[in-house]
């Protein structure tokens, strides 16, 4: 299986960053850092659900749970069968 953290990081950089702010790492704050806003979080959640064939309940998709790639990986793993 691909390294999940790498996959998520690559997607975040590809979709939410540009050439001037692509120095995102596994522990860069995404939501509280203003890289991914609350509206865009919906598309990130959708990506994770499609990619890993999971369903993340809205109650678990909090800004805190999405704040870093590391936290997102933990969240995804909770819902992987």
């Amino acid at each position: 299986m691909e390294n999940m953290k790498e996959v998520i990081l690559e997607y975040v950089i590809e979709e939410y960053c540009d050439e001037e702010n692509d120095d995102v790492t596994f522990d860069t704050p995404l939501i509280s850092g203003g890289i991914v806003d609350s509206f865009s979080m919906v598309s990130l959640k959708r990506f994770l659900e499609n990619k890993y064939n999971i369903s993340i309940p809205d109650a678990d998709a909090s800004p805190e749970a999405f704040d870093t790639v590391e936290k997102i990986e933990l969240l995804v793993k909770r819902f992987l069968k």
Binding site: D18, P29, F39, S43, R46, F47, E49, E64
Partner: protein
Amino acid sequence: MSNIDSYEKRLENFDWSIAEKELDYKDGDDINIGWYCSDRICEMGKANKPALIWEGLGGVEKEFTFNDVRLRSNTIASFLKNLGINTEDRVCLFMDKIPELYIGFVGILKLGAVAQPLFSAFGDESLHVRLDNAQTTAIITQRKHVSKVRKILDQMPYLKHIILVDYDGSKPLREREVAFNMEETELVEDFKSHPTKAESSSVLHYTSGTTGQPKGVKHVHYSLISQYLTTKWVLDLQENDIYWCTADPGWVTGTSYGIIGPWSLGITQCVLDTGFSAESWYKFIEKRKITMWYSAPTAIRSLMKAGEDVIKQYDLTSLRHLASVGEPLNAEAVIWSEKVFGKAFLDTYWQTETGSMMLTNYPGMKIKPGSMGKPFPGITATILDTKTFEPINETGKPGLIGFKPDWPAMMRTYWRNEETYQKKFENGWYLPGDRAYIDQEGYYWFIGRDDDVINTGGHLVSPFEVESALLEHEAVAESAVVAKPDDVNMEVVKAFVTLKPGFEANDDMELKIMNFIRKKLSPLAMPQEIEYRESLPKTRSGKIMRRVLHAQEWGEEIGDISTLEDD
């Protein structure tokens, strides 16, 4: 005691000259908002008082006194002047909530140019449409946002200067780009504010309607009069207050009450330029000892969702007054805030076009949770019959909200679109486009929009704009966009699409379309859900019947479908 003291007493013999006198303004005098927000406060002996306390990512903190604001806005105004920016030229502010945005706004106004703040999350197409309409001469931005400007630069011959406030020299500047570092540039001690008059253009904010492109709402320097007085009486800002307006100056609340209101009163304000989280917000209130907090229902509902345990971890006793704006504040949120903060959020109703508060709740006045409150003194408001546009005298009967022109902050026109501006008036009343009713005690109660515009998280999104952008996606054949109910944002964007032959309706396609709109327009405009259809409901003449889809989403009666193509 509150500034307004008694709402009822203030209604008696009210005149806007109350504010004019306090601001030492007489009819025909020069009036420059930039000067009022900086030089005048210094002349009043508050030069060393903090004007802006700012916190950004990674715990970076900056503080600017009113004298700092005066000097740095002088410096920005002088820099723009040397670039050849003239009076009435439009200068766009396209930045995160960094100090340069707030102080740059003041500098642009001092120069006599027109400040055009735009939300920094806008995608390149949303940016282009707005710059094109305004024929913007210069844009002040950051490295992280400049790529969006570069992408559309060839289509904007009128845009002469791209000013980067955080250029670090690591990559060469490109065509039309120039660096300006506000904190390193030599300060300009004396800059004579342009002698703007009451009707001189000041700010151009963009707002969305049901049809057509976004409209540039033109405000003038005289708007200060009602922005000053509403800040004083409704937000109740007093000399020792520490104020926090959570709105982004890319939207009207962030300028009317995030810059002009507090600074014209000489009040210290704080800005938190990080993303939202309940912890970071409460921590900020505790650390900065915020006393007056002006926020939005979406944020309040998000805080409610985060629960009460997190509140107990912070000392929020500094808070003495709370208010809300952007969309109707539901009764539950008012009751909740009273329970957890010991103070109710007071709802305030106004919009980009009105420039300042119109219907609001006041310190000391009985609050009816869920109500919009009562008209600000000097504002003549009513509920109009939807067909005759005559005032409805019966309490409890729904109709259209109407305001009698003019009040000081009323928009003067839609930029290069006078025809649409004129359509906002009926029978001598300005129509903000919302429906409401008045109860027996004169309180207004919001019912809903009178059009298809989507209010998501307090921001208006035009379904037409999203539908048009969807059609630019290679897979989309037809589109219809409506509001979908949402617990936190009140409404979110939902799109119905039919696909062209050869494209598969699946989850990956949905995500591709969502991201396409997010980048092209903005995250706010991105459909949170896309529903594939074989066909969309249309009239026999081929017009998509958005209201049928809207009714389905809201569980409402569909109404007359006699014109439906096939049912």
